[in-house]
Amino acid sequence: MANIAAKRIKREFKEVMKSEEVAGGAIKLELVNDSWTELQGEIAGPSDTPYEGGTFVLEIKVPETYPFNPPKIRFVTKIWHPNVSSVTGAICLDILKDQWAAALTLRTVLLSLQALLSAAEPNDPQDAVVAKQYKENPQLFHMTARHWTNVYAGGPASIVEFNQKVQRLLDMGVDEHDARVALSTYDWELERATEQLFS
């Protein structure tokens, strides 16, 4: 790794550790390997959102050309959000692409991701299915996102009706995550989800 990248990450790491957000438990940053090229981030789901109470883990890869190019970040924790792929965890956020600036840091990026959870951009989606539901059926979107937060991110709100529907598909021998994706995609209509899974 180029020297400037590693040196900067080390300085940033110190900065993050001293920050009040880490002290307050809003964000977390850990090293994955000794070469400073890969880190793991964590953000707390913001309050008054369906992500409240959940903890979301992020994979952070630092390119050799950092900070002149943005870090590559994706969600490891599965999440139902218009700007995050429900399949791969890939994120659509301008500052991680062409709006990157060299003065941005891992701390500011993690805070921006947290802000993205509070304010989705459905007109610039990463996941078209989620974005469509967000726009056309906001209440159902909200519940689905809360359900995913509960199941994958340790959120507190378990939604009994959704759990029962997932269980019905499990009883038919469907993989749990596949069942959840199909139900979420088809607005929790069991019949259409089943049809799609067995077609």
Partner: protein
């Protein structure tokens, strides 16, 4: 009042110059809404590097306050170091800021833009400014008529 030609971004043909039919076609498509002009939107990719001229003209400043970081490498400046100053007064190590400006034209700290050597991008910026101005003018006109 600006004259009609200038306002439309046009100029008269030189002696013996033929009209540019491709340009006419493009204007036709935009005017009739068959092609979305993207002047109100964003430049679709990373803006081009800062112009050689503007990079050469960056001011050099002697550091007097040692509690200041270079926002790119985050290293503290040493007293009596020379730093490069952007027009927005943000300070950087020479090597750091030159690498950045070689890639794109804005201040990494506040996005203040330097001119570029890229004609397409400069034309885009000009057109964007003009369309914003036009929007403001129309709004002012509307308000003066209906308020």
């Amino acid at each position: 009042m600006t004259d009609y030609f200038q306002e439309m971004g046009w100029r008269e043909l030189e002696d013996g110059e033929q009209p540019n039919h491709l340009l006419h076609m493009a204007r036709f498509l935009i005017d009739f809404g068959m092609y979305d002009d993207n002047f109100t939107g964003e430049w679709p990719r990373l803006p081009p590097p800062a112009s050689k001229e503007s990079v050469k003209n960056l001011k050099e400043v002697k550091i007097e306050d040692e509690n200041q970081n270079c926002p790119i490498c985050l290293k503290k400046f040493n007293i009596n170091d020379t730093a490069k100053e952007m027009p927005c007064h943000h300070l950087f190590h020479e090597k750091c800021i030159l690498t950045w400006l070689n890639q794109t034209n804005s201040c990494p700290f506040c996005r203040h833009e330097l001119p570029t050597d890229n004609e397409g991008y400069e034309a885009f910026k000009k057109e964007k400014k003009r369309s914003e101005q036009r929007k403001e003018d129309i709004e002012a006109l509307h308000n003066s008529m209906f308020s």
